[in-house]
Symmetry: C2
DNA sequence: TTGAAAGCGCTAACAC
DNA sequence: GTGTTAGCGCTTTCAA
């Protein structure tokens, strides 16, 4: 395996990667033939194929995707936009998505937006310049305007663990999920239940889950109280741990909290115990997502688990389907069933 | 913002994204001028610039990076190869790397290899076909042959939280890190200390850390015992939880365990407590990495923390430096100092 | 200050 | 079976 060296161009160690032309020249055929051999298309005689293959190996030739991308108008690249990779749930989703995408011949560009609108915009801009074939929005915490833009530009988009009427989506049913958690707490005897929101969560989803929360509460005959929906976290855009503590210090404080995701629930567990409130002794805690950490016996967080593998595989399937079969089919929407996992962070109120 | 529609090509809704030619035509200039305007190079009169900009907006023109990549022989793409994104440490490193890379104008391709040699190979192949400008190897658990190949192909490589003599690297000093943990345990009074290895850890690193472990033990006047270095985990390539339990059931079992990383340490904590061994009552446990989860009060894992932010920023700096200033400078090696964080998972032996 | 022209490395339609 | 040719959408000399 050698590589051509160009001498005297100023940097005497400049290497030029071999191109299809080099292979063609060395094996004494045309570049179309080389192309046919590489892609196993057309028909080439065994003899020429062998010569080409040999030249390929001699030169260490590797097809240049930038050229292929240009001519094919297709990159086999997909973008993944995620709010926070430090959230286990997202990390695992990304990991699985990359796995499925790769198995299907796609390479994955990952962008961590951190919930910042400008960052989100610029990342997407970069993805679009690179002409990714499609974009997966993960647990999308961003601006809906972004989504409309994407859809407007006819970029294939799949939403994984988040939702929009206008795009392909796969997610669990928020209503069912929140319902499962609330019902469990109600059955334990809780009546005063608060809702903790991740500040990294976008307004629409936040509202929709909060609304789900309210509705489920109502269904259980409990009056929803807007001041019991608390932003809780340390995102740049605020999120105020103090608010939750404040709430718990009031009279007739909540005896249980549902957190919008496990990440937040675990932060909250830490916060509460740091402030001297026992979980579940003083306050019960339930999360949503089903991350591994929640399952550790020392954490033992009751949670509504999302089927991560199905989310990832279906998400990729939807995205690739959209990419490969065109933009005009109506959006496909898949609702998955979440499952309540009861652990030790929830108990009857005192 | 409109876009051209092509009618009668079979798919009447086929869209063609506007090209530089469309902009040139609409604004009545040549494409070189458009190019100059877009890249803010050359000199264009204010009048023409305005016309071009207007056309760009009218058409919703976005430069096609696939074409630019081809002609520039540069993609502004970097690859990140990581063993396991479900390991918090890696996830956080990836997140930060993406941040820094993006700030410098690069987009990040992430590949999760899961420690599989073939997967590793095929992912790298894909990255190289896409002509990434460089590759970051994260906490690299893979085959050294892979690295030699990369280096042989003169692809800029930076190793982050892992090490090779021949590439740019930034990592903490294993010897110091392991030493910190062992010394802490020795000071607590432990003499029988075992070492738990993550099976997703590559042989060389595994050996180097294990060797560091042995040496540090010796330095403390403790006889290293090879059978006390136990593979512990559930990778596909084995890793045998039973072995560790076995070891603890023997006579004169270890009173403390150092785990090769926090991920493993926490798994181990779970395993031990599931088997009825208290941590730190029956056995003390120390990890390496300093992931967030280790800091939760319920976990309270004593650990040797790596400076994640420095690893990420330096790693990116090294990689971009290599990309932008050529392949021939000698490799730069940066050792960072780890820091011991003592929590409740370690205590004097009974 | 602007434009014409020559590629970058590949695919694909069409000749031979 | 194989080669020729014409682009894909850009950047970059070099003239004008």
């Amino acid at each position: 395996m050698t590589r051509e060296r160009i001498v005297g161009d100023g940097r005497d160690t400049a290497f030029r990667r071999p191109t299809i032309n080099d292979v063609a020249a060395l094996s004494g055929v045309s570049k179309s033939t080389v192309s046919n051999v590489m892609r196993q298309t057309g028909s080439v005689s065994d003899a020429t194929r062998r010569r080409v293959v040999e030249a390929v190996e001699r030169l260490g030739y590797r097809p240049n995707a930038t050229a292929r991308n240009l001519v094919m108008q297709r990159t086999n690249l997909i973008g993944v936009l995620v709010g926070d990779l430090a959230n286990d749930f997202n990390a695992e989703l990304v990991k699985r998505i990359e796995q499925h995408a790769s198995a299907a011949g796609y390479t994955t560009l990952v962008c961590n937006t951190g919930g910042h609108a400008e960052r989100e915009g610029s990342r997407i801009e970069a993805l679009l310049e690179q002409r990714v074939d499609g974009i997966a929005l993960l647990d999308f915490t961003g601006d809906r305007a972004v989504l409309s833009q994407l859809l407007g530009e006819r970029v294939p988009v799949a939403m994984v663990s988040c939702w929009s009427e206008y795009a392909d989506c796969v997610a669990v049913d928020d209503m069912v999920g929140v319902g499962l958690a609330v019902q469990h707490l109600v059955e334990l005897g809780h009546r005063r239940i608060a809702y903790a929101v991740d500040p990294l969560m976008e307004a629409t989803t936040r509202h929709s889950r909060a609304e789900a929360f309210d509705r489920v509460m109502l269904r259980s005959g409990l009056p929803p109280r807007s001041e019991w929906t608390v932003l809780c976290g340390t995102g740049d855009d605020g999120g105020d741990d103090a608010a939750m503590l404040e709430l718990l210090r009031g009279e007739a404080p909540p005896t249980a909290i549902v957190a919008a995701n496990d990440h937040t629930a675990i932060r909250l567990m830490e916060l509460l115990e740091g402030a001297g409130r026992a979980v579940p002794g003083d306050v019960s805690l339930a999360g949503i997502d089903g991350i591994d950490t929640a399952g550790l016996s020392r954490i033992a967080l009751t949670t509504v688990a999302q089927p991560k593998e199905e989310l990832a595989s279906l998400g990729v399937a939807l995205l690739l389907g959209r990419i490969e079969s065109g933009y005009d089919a109506p959006p496909q929407q898949r609702r998955l069933r979440p499952a309540l996992i009861v652990r030790q962070s929830t108990a009857p109120p005192r």
